[in-house]
Symmetry: none
């Protein structure tokens, strides 16, 4: 892990420009024993050249065998030990939509869902209602008031929204109400620590949910809500303090924008959803920042769909967009994923994540001849904790002084 006391002593605030390009869920598995992974099957001439010229390795986001969610795995990429710096989904989503959380606020990530006449959940995602309807229904929920606290309700995307409670003495140690399976009713919110704070907060949440029910009664798909990931702002050490980086994030999806903001990055607006659109934003702001985090979501989505060829095509489209990024002449380019999402397993997994680090003139020659899991296993970086990515990037950008005399 990046030891932030040490890092903040060593970083200088001067040096080269760094781009961290993350393909969500990049790591994969072969369809058949001995076959290529998605990344290995993809035609990626540019990434293969960068892997040959740079150094490669595989990184482990949380620990051996542990499958990360995207929040924790991005925290690890940014140098934060995700077990020490637990950040709840409510906070991530709130930051992702630009909501300015205050220190005492408690945020929950909410879903519209569908319940049947007996109150049992039949669709946990409310038939994936469109964002326009979400906005309309959230607006209805804004009519709900609770005693002694302010309530904020904000739409996110599709069936997802955020609830924020603001007031004295609230606790985020309260339980989630999503039963996680269909055929069961939403759970009551319960305190998860002793004392009056959690008890009161849980009661407020239950009052909110009961008040929401009649407001949604005329909605066939979105007639109920569930809430998960109750959390407060974790006050992460900030990029400009510990790394002395003026850092920008270019990401389409709210959660990734949220985790970047938590780390202290500026989140830049993007029009369009492709990497080419994102690189255009990077180019426009090239002289304004030392560090760009660029996030590409669809590799993960195709993996979760079980669509091996679709994931291959996403990776190939990233490769095709890369020359425009290289034209900007970054000093350090790191290309990697935040975790593995093998199409064959249709989910996030624990498998180490391929990474290439390209920094002309500052790397040794390694055996990796292309960008792929097997080649990365031959790379000089070996298998290493994801929290080492930032110190390695900063070092190759010559942004750190030596430790000790």
């Amino acid at each position: 892990m990046a030891n932030f006391d040490v890092m903040s002593e060593l970083t200088t605030g001067a040096g080269g420009k760094i781009v961290l390009l993350v393909m969500d869920g990049l790591g994969g598995l072969p369809l058949e024993p001995g076959g290529p992974t998605e990344l290995e099957a993809a035609q990626t001439p540019t990434m293969d050249r960068l892997a040959r010229e740079g150094i490669a390795g595989l990184h482990v986001p949380i620990g051996a065998g542990i499958t990360p969610g995207s929040g924790p795995s991005h925290l690890a990429l940014f140098g934060y030990d995700p077990i020490r710096f637990g950040v709840g989904r409510g906070v991530l989503e709130a930051f992702g939509i630009g909501f300015e959380l205050q220190p005492q606020d408690v945020a929950g990530r909410a879903n519209f869902c569908t319940v049947d006449a007996n109150g049992l959940v039949v669709d946990r995602r409310a038939g994936r209602i469109p964002t326009e309807l979400c906005i309309k229904l959230v607006d209805r929920l804004r009519a709900i008031t609770l005693p002694g606290v302010e309530v904020f309700v904000e739409p996110v995307k599709d069936y997802r929204f955020v609830i924020v409670l603001r007031g004295e003495g609230l606790s985020d140690r309260i339980s989630e109400t999503d039963p996680l399976v269909v055929g069961k009713p939403p759970l009551p919110c319960l305190p998860e620590e002793p004392g009056p704070s959690a008890k009161r907060t849980a009661e407020l949440v239950n009052q909110f949910i009961e008040a929401a029910r009649p407001l949604l009664a005329d909605q066939p798909a979105a007639n109920m809500i569930t809430v998960r990931g109750w959390s407060k702002d974790p006050n992460l050490p900030q990029f400009h303090e510990v790394y002395k980086l003026h850092a920008a994030a270019v990401a389409v999806y709210p959660m990734y924008r949220g985790v970047s903001k938590l780390a202290g990055m500026d989140v830049l607006p993007v029009s369009g959803e492709t990497l080419a659109d994102e690189i255009k934003v990077v180019a426009e702001h090239w002289s304004d920042y030392d560090f760009f985090f660029v996030h590409v979501k669809p590799a993960d989505s195709r993996g979760e769909d079980g669509d091996f060829q679709g994931k291959v095509r996403v990776i190939e489209s990233v490769d095709a967009a890369l020359p425009a990024l290289l034209d900007l002449k970054p000093d350090v380019l790191v290309i990697t994923g935040d975790h593995s999402t093998p199409a064959v397993l249709r989910s996030h997994t624990w498998h180490p994540v391929p990474l290439l680090l390209w920094a002309p003139g500052r790397v040794r020659t390694d055996a990796a001849q292309a960008f792929g899991e097997t080649e990365c296993a031959r790379g000089l970086l070996g298998t290493f904790p994801t929290t080492d990515v930032m110190p390695l990037a900063l070092a190759h950008a010559m942004r750190m002084v030596r430790y000790g005399a």
Copy 2:
């Protein structure tokens, strides 16, 4: 290390079946520079195939350069950091013979030994007296009483037995009495922490030893005793709690049965001493458990004898017995050792231990083409801490949910 708080949150109690097959002291060294190790010299077509189909690596039980005893190395295999979870030999032996230790009990592992007319130790193992004589002599020692405590004396095997003191306010922070070399007298037992508990416990131990002396005076070989490894039950986190595994151990030697019991496994009875006998037990209980630990001792014994070819033959016999285990269709099969015992050095050593993990459809392709130290060094798992073995096995059995959203 397995973080047990995190692990117990992530394990589901559902998923595939795991077999952990441990050849004690498996790791080796070549007889001549550049030559094969014992494992590499052995003809092991089945293990070689499993290594090709699976992933391989080398694990480090305690830390770089540190030679483990079998107790600590098994703790590490089971996911317990052996430095944090120190378990004394006394406790291991007591559990190994099925003695039900109570929380305040202090257990010591005792040896019969031979002293000369001057009281100097001439044989630390009493000429390896047979177990039958051990049982007879232990029965004599049961006549000894001590003020204010209950005393239990139980035979283990050959010259080895266990002493357990039961009573209020006893301490296990007392010294060992084995001088560890011949030509010196047994040492007095001394307190190793301040306060009355350790002082009193040490005095009781010395009284026991003095009382044993006349009871053994007619024994030419076993005329004295030494005691080591004073310890209390360490209350390890249990397999069914942290891993949600219904786990069974199949092991012939008492200490391995003991360490398995400490971890919360059911220890199954075995008739016979071969791996084929053990696999028969696994097959009989296949539907009763999620996890089987199977222990094979003789690889270590031949290594300690300096018998390179003997160790090769043990490994070959294990390979020959494997098809019966594969017929059971485990979802995850891990084959490894607990530490290295190279015949050329005739002792446990610090060398990393070869490991193969076979889990069809859930592993990438790695470069290891056979099961041996050099091939394992080319494997995808790299060189990793032994405490990662359990999280990796659980992950490949799909028995864990993701960490965070």
